[in-house]
Symmetry: C2
Subunit: 205 residues, 2 copies
């Protein structure tokens, strides 16, 4: 097929993206598929609403569901973690810059590890400092560039592009014009990428 | 384990429930698992909001996603279908009565078939008449009983029970205190029921 990779739309602050970010490297290797990581400004920036309001049954379910699935994948996790995140715009700006400069995937992984394993507030200064240090990046330089006009403009353009193609949540995996929303749809996206259908032989994967 | 069945919470008007309703009989037989069908008054009755607002990107995704998954399962489908449904309270009252009287599962299946294959407005009189006829049930008798105080009271109590245990969407599968939300989580529910974990050997199913 024409596409040479699956677009992996993510946004720091998305809880389920922890699962995808952590396992996607191994999944890509096993499946022999390339993913292009595309951070955008946030789910609220796309839809106008927070996906998991405080106190909602859906929010309680989300935490338990992530815990069950992390156990299934063997992914470490220490709940509760601070939620929602206060400074997502900056965190996503840093991730966006990192993708340009080549340390973005490493930063996103470190950032989720510090949030979900060490309980550091995602997007806060201690969290960003620790995550950037793991990538060998200078905090002051990166934050100044991330807050600059170029990154801010381009992150908005990327978020507009996410909205244009129909993204409304994270993680989302995009193969051509097909969107697969949710960490639990990663296998579906890979099957679609390889066979243009959900299951390898038209059956449930 | 102590539980002898999986609770299958559904509500007529839920689009994804079409997939579960249609395939759950075969799934139950293959897995050797019993499901107790528990209709409740509606997602809006639980959460106060419609799950798929008109014009939203999530709503467009939902229709395409159902189409892809119906194809995977080999389930017939003729989109678009009338949505949302106008008289869900009555449709769910009929389903609730049917579960008591023994023709409920048949009615729910017929009801979804008439909605998703024949394009009849779910809960409208032609739709209810046709679906009840397939179960050999008299429309006037059933509607009178369904609108009566007993069914109305008990359907509300069942909906309160759904809210109490943390249901916020349909379909939901419940094993003990564990909720699995979505048709795509039916396998997870079965694995949890049998092995108290998501995958048969601790791996992704």
């Amino acid at each position: 097929m024409a596409e040479d990779r699956i677009d992996f739309w993510l946004t720091l602050g998305s809880t389920y993206s922890y699962l995808s970010v952590t396992r996607i490297g191994a999944v890509a290797k096993t499946a022999g598929v390339n993913f292009r990581w595309r951070p955008f400004a946030g789910v609220r920036a796309l839809t106008g609403a927070a996906p998991f309001p405080d106190g909602a049954a859906k929010t309680r379910y989300m935490w338990r569901d992530i815990e069950r699935r992390a156990n299934m994948y063997g992914i470490p996790l220490k709940l509760p973690v601070p939620y929602p995140s206060a400074n997502l715009r900056l965190a996503n700006s840093v991730a966006f810059l990192g993708m340009r400069e080549g340390w973005g995937e490493q930063f996103v992984c470190a950032s989720y590890r510090h949030w979900f394993q060490h309980g550091e507030e995602n997007g806060g200064e201690p969290h960003l400092r620790a995550s950037l240090a793991e990538c060998g990046q200078d905090f002051e330089r990166v934050v100044a560039l991330s807050q600059g006009d170029t990154v801010q403009h381009d992150l908005d353009a990327e978020t507009d592009e996410a909205r244009r193609i129909g993204i409304f949540g994270a993680p989302s995996f995009v193969v051509g014009s097909e969107i697969f929303w949710g960490d639990d749809r990663l296998d579906d996206a890979i099957n679609w990428f390889k066979h243009s259908r959900l299951g390898p032989s038209g059956q449930k994967p």
